[in-house]
Amino acid sequence: MGLKSKDLIGIKALDAADIEQILDTAAGFKDVLGRDIKKVPALRGKTTVNLFYEPSTRTRTSFELAAKRLSTDVINFSVSTSSVVKGESLRDTALTIQALGADFIIVRHSCSGVAHFLANNLDASVVNAGDGTNEHPTQALLDLFTIREKKGIIRGLEVAIVGDILHSRVAKSNIYALKKMGAGVRLIGPPTLVPDVLRDLDVEIYSDMEKGLKGADIVMMLRIQVERQGKGFFPTTVEYFRNWGLTPERLAGAKKSALVMHPGPMNRGVEISSDVADGMRSVILDQVTNGLAVRMAVLYLLAGVRE
């Protein structure tokens, strides 16, 4: 059995077995990445296009490297959303890229639903590298991979996700993935950024960070967009840090073995203190490394669906 769709649009459409399969495959590729020769010929002759409508360094680089490690040719296609609104339509751009012979289109866009739209309109495999505030599935998969690697098992863990849940595609994908894999999820943050309706997904919601962190196995911090300050979501980054910044004192309220995660890039002193970010419990750099293996696994498995 394998993945059922030619695309990876979101975690919503996956089931636990799909996730398990991706993580298992990623474990194999992680071994490859530890070798002297880090490249495999698995997808030689295929073409991967990074279609990024939003600036991104880490995700784009990670996909690029993953594709190259699988021996596909990689093209980076960066477009600014504003020029696209006035000029060429999303569909025309995508069809053009497909006409060039792309097998994989990795797309990031500031609008939710774009990955879905492309997947429906293209024969190529579409991988969602983040669409608006909808999903960022490979980030959640690499987070789960990291958790499983460090903790051995995901089921039964208590995972606290802290910050701007409303606007975070990382949080959304993680909520779906963690629930599907049997973990408990707590969302922590100001009520302006943590919608109450998410309780319907069987998660706990806290505005008091100390309460929310109590007994947590994993503390997943989200990047706070500084632009949200002054828009009424919270008064200042100073007050935000006072209430929801992760300090060593607050972390002490979680389990002793608790891990600290962050999808990056971090705002030190806004959502996380440097002591924690660089501390013993931080697995933030492991996340980056694992991202490569997970993205290789995704491309590899999708190629299998297409064949």
Binding site: L90, R91, C111, S112, G113, N134, K172, V197, L198
Partner: protein, 433 residues
């Protein structure tokens, strides 16, 4: 020319008629409605030469429908719709009078635009067009437009539809001033600060789709404000496209209090579908106000049933295919509604929400009364605006068959049963098999 539509079930709430009758038309006017009994006696002596007879056995015969809320897009957006195509689509949908909203380019905020629309409608229109003028110049909400001059030119109501008058003082002045004309102000109730950036109903679905939500309260705070201002000023207020349970409650209580001259409309999509229609980012289900929850849709039906909501209008908002194809966030709001309105609304009769007479009231008689035109009736002497509806055959909605340029509908593939098969408008008989 003489026309007799025979043996149809004639529904005309203006005369309290619901029964099998013959409808006689002469020189573009309704001549008489003869019931079965009286018909039997006189028939023999009648001279039927030169009379076109139409057999409507088993079908409904209704006054042509009156749509208070239509975007004809001309002038300025002819690639979306024109007066010709929009009125043709209306007639296909059994609608013989359309009120067109002023958000054209240029905006219908002065009498020359009004005159242009009427001239175009007279030469190219398939049905009567009643323009709605802008409340404020350029729909900017800053200065009153020349309402009485536009009224003289033919405007029947005023609205900044698509853009609410956010400034409460400006809205107060508009309501006060409009009293000299005794015409309604049609309010698009939306607090732009609360709805800012929103593209669908706010709820779990909007959060999980990652789309910015518009809470029902964005509509309700403005409904409450406008009712308060109507009470203050004595102006006539008509609330456009009611979509929420809370709005229905506010309007119900205002009507009960009796201090405000207020009427309200809703649209077929607010009682036929919910936010779920957005599905996986289907921009054809993007509309403003947005499709709401099941609870809201039920409340809208209740509001129609108990008379809180007076009118069913389409808010026909045609767009070009390309505009709905792509990013959901960037797609314009709107549903092409003229050709599905009657079919969808007739479901309310099947569900017991409205009677046939009640439906005709909401879609023909009451809207006529609100803008003060003598339409929506089959009274002798009235314009012969008539629609014959076949409710016996199911059919599939195919947007490709729409006569409107706007194919943007979330109802494609739906099975409906009520279909206009004949419409008489402007003295012309349009027949479809």
């Amino acid at each position: 020319m003489k026309v007799v539509i025979k043996n149809g079930r004639v529904i005309d709430p203006s005369q309290g008629i619901d029964g099998v009758c013959d409808l006689a038309i002469e020189d573009g006017k309704i001549k008489e409605v003869k019931s079965e009994k009286s018909r039997g006696k006189s028939q023999k002596h009648e001279n039927n030469r030169g009379t076109k007879e139409i057999d409507a056995s088993g079908k409904l015969v209704l006054p042509g429908l009156v749509d208070l809320h239509v975007h004809l897009r001309e002038p300025g957006y002819e690639y979306k719709e024109t007066i010709r195509t929009g009125t043709t689509a209306a007639v296909r949908g059994g609608i013989t009078s359309v009120c067109c909203m002023p958000n054209t380019n240029p905006v219908n905020d002065n009498s020359s635009v009004t005159e242009f629309i009427l001239k175009k409608a007279a030469s190219e229109g398939a049905c009567r067009v009643f323009p709605i003028g802008a409340i404020t110049k350029g729909q900017k909400g800053e200065e009153l437009a020349e309402m009485s001059i536009m009224y003289e030119a033919g405007c029947v109501a005023f609205s900044d539809d698509g853009r609410p008058v956010m400034d409460s003082l400006m809205m107060r002045r508009a309501m006060e001033y409009s009293r000299i004309l005794k015409v309604p102000l049609i309010s698009h109730c939306e607090d732009l600060a609360l709805s800012a950036g929103g593209v669908m109903h706010e709820g779990l679905l909007s959060v999980t789709l990652g789309l910015k939500g518009i809470p029902p309260q964005a509509e309700e705070v403005m409904v409450a404000r406008d009712i308060a201002l109507a009470e203050l000023t004595g102006g006539r207020l008509h609330i456009a496209h009611v979509s929420t349970e809370g709005s229905v409650a506010l309007i119900r209580s205002a009507k009960k209090r009796g201090m405000a001259d207020v009427t309200a409309e809703t649209c077929p999509h607010y009682f036929s579908i919910t936010e779920e229609a957005v599905g996986n980012y289907d921009a054809n289900a993007k509309v403003n106000p947005p499709l709401r929850s099941r609870k809201d849709a039920e409340a809208i039906k209740q509001g129609l049933h108990d008379g809180t909501i007076d009118v069913i209008a389409t808010d026909h908002a045609p767009h070009h295919r390309d505009e709905k194809l792509g990013e959901f966030d960037f797609a314009p709001s709107g549903i092409s509604g003229l050709e599905t309105s009657l079919g969808l609304s007739m479901r309310l009769v099947d569900e017991g929400v409205l009677t046939y007479s009640g439906l005709v009231e909401k879609m023909a008689l009451k809207p006529s009364g609100i803008i003060g035109i003598d339409r929506g009736t089959l009274r002798p002497g009235a314009e012969a605006d008539v629609v014959v509806v076949d409710c016996s055959r199911e059919y599939r909605v195919d947007a490709g068959e729409f006569l409107s340029k706007g194919k943007n509908t979330p109802f494609g593939g739906w099975t409906l049963s009520a279909k206009p098969v004949l419409t008489i408008s402007l003295g012309r008989i349009h027949e479809w098999e």
